[in-house]
């Protein structure tokens, strides 16, 4: 019997291997879908082993790109310098206006006795790799669990929302971009305050879902995070509406959004590691007031 089974295995070894590997792949898919911690550990381990290769390649690519562009760029440097100086002057002026506005807003907040203030902690990270396929949209960053990055954390850039952390290793993480088909985010139309879901559509585009037909949405409207889902604080810019469709019948209208952050040219990102809701200074002051000292007991009473 043993001899017969040995010959069977030898004769059909290729078929057995194919079946074994396919079963392993399917088991892996199933475990990933159930988000089991064993798969996360394996992912983190391989992420840690492979990412240094990506980091070296990125460094090499950047150096080579710099060398290639240097002779062409030197002629443009003067013009760029003038442009940048003008931009700095404009930004300084804008900055002082915004400071004034922030102070006014703070005064009004105190007057209205708003109970909460949001404080956000961020970690800066460098993009060291991109998605190897055309269908999915993700980037690899050089910050991981040792830097406080966890699965599901929001990732943003100065221009706008980038995505959320999908996989983590001790020193590296994979970020799912908002344009990926698997990405969905709760959003808010900044002008009308209408609620919507921002879903990825690939190719640097998102789709607005469940946007009520009654909402007066126009091309150019900005969509921000609602703060209701995941780790995204309220008010982060997601993108700008480029197309609105009210054709046909139904409760909802369709709209297309282009992310404000250029996701095809990302180099640095910010991972929001903590969103803390702090009590306002007036509330803090009330809470910090010393209690009335207990009356001193007199002798003889």
């Amino acid at each position: 019997m043993r001899i017969r089974s040995f010959f069977f295995v030898r004769r059909h070894h290729r078929l057995i291997l194919v079946i074994a590997l396919l079963i392993t792949a399917l088991a892996l898919m199933s475990l990933r879908a159930k988000q089991r911690s064993g798969v996360d550990f394996l992912d983190g381990l391989w992420l840690e082993l492979c990412s240094p290769f990506h980091e070296v390649s990125t460094g090499l690519a950047k150096n080579l790109q710099g060398l290639f562009h240097l002779p062409f760029q030197s002629s443009r440097l003067g013009e760029e310098n003038i442009e940048l100086r003008q931009q700095v002057a404009r930004l300084k002026e804008e900055n002082s206006r915004l400071k004034e506005a922030a102070l006014a807003s703070e005064r009004l907040r105190r007057l209205l006795e708003f109970k909460e203030t949001v404080r956000i902690s961020m970690v800066g990270a460098e993009v060291i790799g991109r998605d190897p396929s055309s269908w999915f949209k993700s980037v690899t960053i050089n910050k991981g669990e040792k830097d406080g990055v966890r699965k599901g954390m929001a990732v943003t850039s100065p221009e706008g929302v980038v995505g959320q952390v999908l996989r983590t290793g001790p020193h590296y993480s994979v970020v799912l971009l908002i344009t990926d088909y698997n990405s969905a985010l709760d959003g808010l139309i900044q002008r009308t305050r209408g609620r919507t879901i921002v879903e990825g559509r690939g190719e640097n585009r998102c789709q607005l879902k469940y946007l009520l037909r009654t909402e007066d949405v126009v091309v150019g409207d900005i969509v921000i995070t609602s703060g209701l889902t995941g780790n995204f604080p309220k008010g982060l810019v997601i993108g700008e509406i480029r197309r609105v469709e009210k054709e046909g019948q139904g409760v909802f209208q369709e709209a297309e959004l282009v992310p404000c952050a250029d996701l095809s040219k990302l180099e640095e990102v910010l991972v929001i590691t903590e969103t803390r809701v702090l009590p306002s200074p007036s509330v803090e002051a009330k809470e910090a007031k010393p209690k009335k000292p207990a009356p001193i007991r007199r002798k003889g009473r």
Binding site: L21, M29, R32, A33, A61, S133, S134, F136, L166, L176
Partner: protein, 172 residues
């Protein structure tokens, strides 16, 4: 084991090239799939066990760096490997045109299969699917077809160099 380790490192290097150098291309969708070409090479040259395990490992690593939540490439790459291995005696590996054509066709078929899996398992609707197949998948598969013969030559020469050198070392 030595072959497995060497080919795995080579696969990781090719994956790094694919991940990093893609963004410097003037037309991003035309990003060649180096690891797919490498899997095809393994299908022609490696044994069932080593090649199959490597194809699976490379598929798993590709999944790791994509936004692919389930992990479709760990399933498609071993299938591709065994498909090539099954028919390898019927093809002429040395032909540049054949290698290119094989790279192109397999990349296109794999892409279609991944989209099918994505739509079936993930309940995702891909709007304008057919136009996207042509705009995204066709340039990538053509680019993979173009680079496939070069990957074959590169891997062939590198492995010949490494293993020839190690044999010489043993003789001494």
């Amino acid at each position: 084991m030595k072959h497995f380790g060497f080919f795995l490192i080579l696969g990781i290097v090719l994956l790094s090239l694919q991940v990093v150098w893609g963004k410097f291309l003037p037309f991003p969708p035309a990003r060649p799939d180096f690891t797919l070409a490498f899997t095809l090479y393994l299908g022609f040259t490696s044994s069932s066990f080593i090649g199959g395990s490597l194809a699976f490992a490379l598929g798993y690593l590709t999944d790791l760096f994509t936004g692919n939540v389930f992990g479709f490439y760990a399933l498609t790459r071993p299938l591709l490997f065994y498909g090539v291995q099954l028919y390898r005696s019927r093809f002429n590996l040395d032909g540049f045109v054949f290698q290119s054509l094989l790279g192109w066709v397999t990349a296109f078929l794999e892409g279609c299969f991944v989209v099918f899996l994505m739509m079936t398992l993930n309940a995702t609707t891909v709007p304008n699917l057919y136009s996207k197949l042509f705009r995204l998948l066709l340039p990538q598969s053509v680019a993979t077809g173009i680079v496939a013969p070069f990957v074959f030559i590169l891997v062939n020469r590198t492995s010949a160099f490494v293993f020839y050198r190690s044999k010489v070392g043993l003789k001494r």
